[in-house]
Symmetry: C2
Subunit: 271 residues, 2 copies
């Protein structure tokens, strides 16, 4: 090894110290960056997952219970539902049935989410959004916007179903239900434009893998149980529906194996 | 000043260096923490305020336009509405009226929010939530949950109004509107339990200063324009309503001085 006169060398203790300082400075800076980033993350206004389980209560029918249950199952958060709570809406044990808790519910209605702190969140769409916020699965930017649109659109479709499709407890021509002509009109003319709009959005390929998408699935699934071919003219929507249907989390919920237990089909075919 | 024998002193260059190192280490660490925190903040998935204005379009009536407009005005974000866009829903210039844009709207409906990037967010509740997300005013934890409940409850009340209260375009006994008996039943029996639930929540003192609270105000205000005494039995709700009504941002919107321009009252008293 030959050192030329111009080769850099450590000629004094001072220079050695300077180099060591640079190296130390880098190390301290890197460590500082890591600590700072971690602190910023941990101290950020915390809206995220509290790991204590929340609770879900509803009647043992799909209706407006299937959606929140699927959103809970898809959230990855721990939660406890009807089955594991021993909640039986009609005829359950004291304090664990709808009649006993109705008066204290925010709007006298189920579904109900109860937080680990004991706070009650009612209203289906509020529960869906609350779980998304807790889990951090609500999406950002346009995905968040689409998720919110899908929730609202699912509500619009549900409201039409409630007025035009019979259920296991309410036949046509009773209460708010329309007649057979309204039932036919729903499937032939009222629903198709909604499905066409959803098909267009789904085709664009964004925002359906969100709580809003999962909630929409829960409503479309109830349409499919009444008229299995209802999505046959909507290729993209149908593919997304089948993918979501075959998701292991969906399969678990529909098999009655989630913490919510079994769901009865609510909307039925006009006899 | 007396130095005792045991007083600490800088006895060697080595000790001086050690102290300097500690001080440098601290400085570098602090700087690193600052850089790291800033980087974490800037690189975090950005869901917050884009400062480019978003656009709002609706018919020149309160109905479902007052709510999104108030939420926009309360958000503190820059936005442009009907008036400044030159959008006139009925009879506006080419491309700047409802008939011309209807086909391209996500669900063929107004209100419409258009993002700075040109993306369309439709459905009133989706717009309210989207603005809250953009502005970071959506609340966290229970406040977020209450905001979502108020949005859903406002929708429930609006749906009842749509079926039972005449508008400037639809009298009773027409389309989905009920008759005079249904109108009377709405005020005397259907609405009061909803107001009682809201009164209880409002009294608890949380979550009403949110986008959901502002949206609820926009619906309650439309009830008050038809029956001014409607909140007289709800002390907390009434106080909050008056406070929100007197907010300068509300006054500006109701005076027609926001970017949205003037709003006509939509729901009216049964003649």
């Amino acid at each position: 090894v030959v050192f030329t006169e111009s080769a850099p060398c450590l000629s004094s203790a001072e220079e050695a110290q300077t180099l060591k300082m640079s190296s130390d400075a880098l190390a301290y800076t890197v460590a500082g960056v890591a600590v700072g980033a971690a602190a910023a993350y941990l101290l950020a206004p915390s809206k995220r997952a509290k790991r204590e389980p929340f609770e879900l209560r509803y009647f043992p029918v799909m209706a407006k219970g299937l959606g929140p249950t699927l959103v809970a199952e898809f959230s990855g958060l721990p939660w406890v539902g009807n089955k594991d709570l021993g909640f039986i809406a009609r005829g359950g044990p004291p304090g664990n049935n709808f009649a006993d808790i109705k008066e204290n519910l925010p709007f006298g209605q189920l579904p109900l989410l109860t937080t680990a702190a004991g706070d009650m969140i009612a209203q289906t769409t509020a529960i869906v959004n609350y779980i998304g916020m807790l889990a951090g699965t609500e999406g950002s930017g346009l995905d968040y916007g689409i998720s919110q649109m899908l929730i609202a659109e699912a509500e619009d479709i549900y409201a039409m179903m409630a007025r035009n499709v019979p259920t296991i407890v309410a036949p046509l021509n009773q209460g708010i239900k329309g007649d057979k002509a309204a039932y036919d009109l729903f499937w032939s003319e009222k629903l198709p434009p909604h499905l066409a709009n959803l098909e267009r959005m789904c085709k664009a390929g964004r925002g359906f893998e969100t709580p809003g998408g999962v909630y929409l699935f829960s409503i479309l699934h109830q349409l499919c149980l009444v008229v299995p071919s209802v999505l046959s003219g909507s290729a993209a929507l149908s593919a997304w529906y089948k993918k979501t249907l075959n998701d292991p989390r969906t399969a678990k919920v529909l098999a009655g194996e989630s913490s919510m237990g079994a769901f009865k089909q609510y909307f039925i075919e006009e006899p």
